[in-house]
Structure formats: structure tokens, C-alpha cells
Amino acid sequence: MTSNLLRFAAAALASVCLAASAQAQEKVVHVYNWSDYIDESILEDFTKETGIKVVYDVFDGNEILETKLLAGGSGYDVVVPTAPFLARQIAAGVFQKLDKSKLPNISNMWPEVSERLAKYDPGNEYAVNYMWGTTGIGYNVQKVKAALGDVPIDSWDVLFKPENAEKLKGCGINILDASDETFAIAMNYIGKDPDSKETADLEAGGDVYAKIRPFVKTFNSSAYIDELANGDSCISIGWSGDVLQARTRAEEAKNGVEINYVIPKEGTYMWFDNLAIPADAKNVDEAHAFINYLMKPEVIAKASNYVQYANGNLASQSLIDEAVFKNPSVYPDAETMKKLFTISPYGPKEQRVLNRVWTQIKTGS
């Protein structure tokens, strides 16, 4: 949220740049990606190889991206929506079908990921996977040990049992402000279908958070990286790569904070961030060239090494650093993979119920 405002400012600036660059008749591609989500040298290499200039802009929430896409005329040629958003945006007619003849590198993709992604984009017609990951628990090893004693941290119980949450209150609990994921996780935890859209199930899922609400310090989706890293909070529902970034930042700061990420044994939500081309994109050929470039094994391996997320590219796996590829938090083993679930998008009325319950929880009313 905090940086959403900065993104607005950045976007306003970017649109000025867009207008300026449109006048110069050079090849250009306008990319709108998540913040901290690429090794910037990849963009330079792409320009060197193809002569296409990259105008790169970032967001930190699907909501901002979606609002821009739905309003139309966003000016972007490649965008990176997360899967449930992607599905809804495809239904709204936001994207154009990919021209596979311009994407020869698509043969490098990982069928396991493409199949799961097809739940949102039947036939993989509109999008290819960029990165994927899980939503799990990031925690400060020493502080959680001090609060809970020497217990294994491998279950959602650590957060969702009120007696545990109460003990963790003092060192700071953060919950991701991403209601679609947090509800799916809670419904899965209490043994319901994580993909349920029934009001009663959603309310039961919300109840999990209502019970621990008095012990929760913050609800945010980007500031928690720093808060974990500098010890302001000790445990958070977080996205795998974000938590690993917090770990790296703490190591760099040498502040004695040790961060760990765990995929709880009950299973969790698996998400996909995907490359897609808006229907009103002006530089369609350049957009395809950019997506094709990102599907080169050595390029996407470099991106994964940098952002510490798994990618959907099978051919890249031998090129990824061992520290990333052999890390079960990034590339889970086959057993864990089976417990990861995906959810279908919420309809407008269901979304209203969901966010209504979520707002009630957050404001503590």
C-alpha cells in the first residue's frame, strides 16, 4: 500500500515519458512488472541484442495493474498479472492471444506449471509463466524460538492457534493484505475447500483471522520485507521470494537477524505471475520479442537467481544457482508440490463478501 502511492507518481512520470518516446520513431516496448522483480541487466542485454528499447515501469499490487488495464489505454505492451487476476482479465477482454509463431522459445516451458496455469488460461493462449511461488510463513528464527520455545515451525498452527499468536504478539505479527490468498489458506487450514466461494465458508475462513486479530500488528504486502529484515516484526504470512529477500537484506545488514521461510505441512496457495500482452498494445511485435527473450533458459535463470523465485521454464533449471534451485522453499519437492493448491477467481458479488469480511477483520470491528 505504502508504495502504491509511489507507483502512482512513477506511473504519472512514466506516461509523460511514453508520450515523449512515442514521437521518436525507434523500436520500443513498454513493460509493466512488479517492483524488484527482474535483474535489470536483462533489460540492457535485450536492447543490445534486438535494438528494441525497454521502457520499464513497476507496480506492487495486482489491483493497480488491473484498474489500469480495465480503464483501457494503459500504454503498456507487456504486463505481469497474477493468475486469478489474469483469468478475470481474460474474461473482460483485456488481453490479446499470443502469436505462438513469434515465440519459438515456448518449447522451453515446464509442462507441470503450464498445466496448472491452464486452469486460469485454458489452452495457455493468452499468457506464459514468468515466475511462480508459494505463500507461506516467514519468521525470525531467534525471536520465534524465544516466544514459542524449541518447537518445529512447520504448520499454520504457529500463527493460527490463538495461544501461539498471543505469545508472538510482542515481537510483531504481519498478515499479507491479499484477501483472496489469505482466505484460501485459512479455509484449507480448517479443512474446507480452499476454492470454495460459499459465504459460510468465507466467513469461517475469516474467523481464523478474527480470532488472532488482537495479536496482529500490521496488514501489509510490501513493507513487511523490511520489517522482517530489521527485526520490527518476527513472523508474517508472506510470499516465498519476498521472505528470501528479507533474509538476504538481513544478512547484508549483519544485524544478527536470521530469517527463514517455510511451506506449512497443511499445504498452501501456489501463485503464478505471467507475461501477457494487452489487447490495445501498440508494439505487439516488440512485446512478443521481449516475451520470447525472457523464455531463453539462460535469461530466465539469471532472473530467478536474482529474485529467488522459481520460474516456469524447464530448460532453465540446469542453469539456476544451486542455492536457489536446491532450496525447497523455492523449488519444493514433488511431495510438497502435491499439497499446493490453486484457486479460481472470485465473481463480483463474492469479491464483495470477501473484502467486506476482510475489512471488518482488519479494522477490528
Partner: protein, 303 residues
């Protein structure tokens, strides 16, 4: 004067008269009507995400028949929105009072300062505007956060022990600090303008006739500065009610304000029609104080 009124208006005069109305129509009335129209629509998974979409005047009858006030009914059904409006108004009222409390003495000191340094003082009040508003609010995060500058200061002074931390960041107190800091110039300047015009001989006369200074303040200074108090309060109260940035950056999850609710409806729920309905109601909530303000202004000018 009466001769001027009798003159037949020239085209140039007409232009001058019409210009503000054209401006208001283009930049207030037209956008408002668009928002009003969206607030009567329904959400849809489409581009743009609502239906019906205006297709031209040919199909206007059909278009109008699809509009309804369902969103407004939903707003009254759900206590969330009423709570958010009330909470915003409460925060705006308290903030405005705090601003008066802090701003009035400042403005009074400025007005009583010698004429030579007054421009410098006014300059100092305006000076913060030279830095981006967003950066100034971010700076408060650095000051108020638990391991921030305020904690450091209190620890250095020995008031706080090494393990004590200031727990202000992400509370309503932080929101009030941020609002009072950000809006202070908007309160001080109208107050200063009113107080500076004050005729000093009135206070001299009061003093000569044996009126103690505090009584002279309440009998003379304050009533005469009332237009400034009203102007400053309105200029602050109205935007604070719809404030989004400060509660978002400094406030916690508990701080419920209508600006934030609007954001969630628009971005989180992609419910443009409901968000528009919230905005229309917000406008109505604010129109009342604006009317009072206008009324007061006219009275003041009439005197």
C-alpha cells in the same frame, strides 16, 4: 457604480462572466455527472468494469432504464460505510480543533511581530511546501517508528530505557500528528491574514478603559478574527475528511477513513459503481460545510 450597471454588457464582459461557469461545467459538473452515472450502474467483468456503458444519444432511453440506485441502498445497509464516514468526520473535527489550537497562537505572534520580520515569518510558514508532501509524510515514519529518531532522542536523554520504544507509528495519534503537521500552513495563513488587518488602536482603547488583556482578546481580537478562523477551518476540514495518504502511511489497520474505503472499493473490489456512490455521498457530506462557509463569507463581505 449605478452608471456602470446601466451600461449594455459588451461581448468582452460576457466572456469574463461566463468563463468561471464554463470552467466549473468542464472541470466540476461534467466529471461529477460521469461519477453519478457510474454510481447508478452495475459492476461487470468487462472493459470498463461496469454496465451499461453510454452508447450515444440514440439509445439513451434504453441506457437510462438500466440505471438504478442499488448501490446507494447497499451503502445504507452496511454499517461499514456509515462507520467510515463518521470516523472520517470525527478525525477531521478533532484535527481541525488541534490545528486551531496550534495555528492560532502562531498566527497571532506573526501578526504582532514587527512589520520588518513579518514577510520572513510568512516565508517560513510556506517553506515546507518546497519539499514534496509525500516525502514530508515519509519523514514522519522515520521519526515515529519504534526504532526511529524519537525513540533515539528519548533514549539519549535518558527518559526512556534502552529497551523502551515509542509506540506511536501506525496508531491514530500518528495520523493526527501527520495531519496537523501537513495542514498547519493552510490554517495559519488565513488566520494571519485576518489578524494582521486588526486595528491595534482597539486594543489600546480597551487597555485604556481598564480591560485586562485576556478579556480584550476574547472581546475584540477573537471575534474580529472569526472570518479567518472559519476560512482556515473549512480549508482544513474539507480535505482532511477525504484524506487518504496520511492515514495510509502513518495509520494502522484500525484507522477507518472514507478515503481508504473508497480505495478498497475501487481497486480491491474493482467495484467502480459502488466506489462512485461512496464518492457522491462524500461530496454531499462536504457540500454542507462548504455552503455554510460560502454563506459566512458573503456575510463577512457584506459588512
Amino acid at each position: 457604480m449605478s452608471e456602470a450597471h446601466a451600461l449594455k454588457p459588451s461581448p468582452a464582459r460576457w466572456l469574463v462572466v461566463i468563463f468561471p461557469y464554463v470552467w466549473l461545467t468542464l472541470f466540476f459538473l461534467a466529471p461529477f455527472l460521469i461519477i453519478l452515472k457510474i454510481s447508478l450502474s452495475d459492476t461487470a467483468i468487462a472493459m470498463p468494469p461496469y454496465t451499461p456503458v453510454f452508447q450515444g444519444f440514440g439509445a439513451i432511453g434504453d441506457f437510462i432504464s438500466q440505471l438504478d440506485i442499488e448501490n446507494y441502498i447497499f451503502l445504507t445497509d452496511d454499517p461499514l460505510y456509515i462507520d467510515a464516514y463518521l470516523s472520517s468526520l470525527r478525525i477531521a473535527v478533532i484535527s481541525t480543533l488541534l490545528l486551531l489550537l496550534v495555528g492560532y497562537p502562531m498566527a497571532l505572534c506573526m501578526a504582532r511581530a514587527s512589520a520588518g520580520i513579518r514577510p520572513t515569518l510568512v516565508m517560513l510558514v510556506i517553506l515546507p511546501f518546497w519539499t514534496s508532501f509525500l516525502i514530508r509524510v515519509y519523514a514522519w515514519i522515520g521519526i515515529l517508528k519504534p526504532e526511529g529518531l524519537l525513540t533515539l532522542l528519548l533514549q539519549t536523554l535518558g527518559i526512556y530505557g534502552p529497551d523502551d520504544q515509542v509506540q506511536i507509528f501506525r496508531t491514530e495519534t500518528a495520523v493526527f500528528i501527520g495531519i496537523v503537521y501537513s495542514y498547519l500552513p493552510f490554517m495559519v495563513l488565513p488566520l494571519y491574514a485576518a489578524l494582521e488587518k486588526l486595528d491595534g488602536t482597539l486594543l489600546e482603547a480597551a487597555s485604556d478603559l481598564g480591560c485586562p488583556p485576556w478579556k480584550a482578546f476574547w472581546k475584540i481580537t477573537f471575534p474580529l478574527s472569526l472570518p479567518g478562523v472559519i476560512a482556515g477551518s473549512m480549508i482544513c476540514f474539507i480535505p482532511i475528511t477525504g484524506e487518504f495518504v496520511i492515514p495510509d502511511l502513518l495509520g494502522g489497520a484500525e484507522t477507518l477513513m472514507i478515503g481508504k474505503t473508497l480505495w478498497t472499493e475501487f481497486f480491491g473490489n474493482r467495484d467502480w459503481p459502488l466506489a462512485s456512490a461512496v464518492a457522491v455521498i462524500l461530496l454531499l457530506v462536504l457540500v454542507v460545510p462548504i455552503m455554510i462557509f460560502q454563506n459566512q463569507q458573503q456575510k463577512a463581505e457584506g459588512k
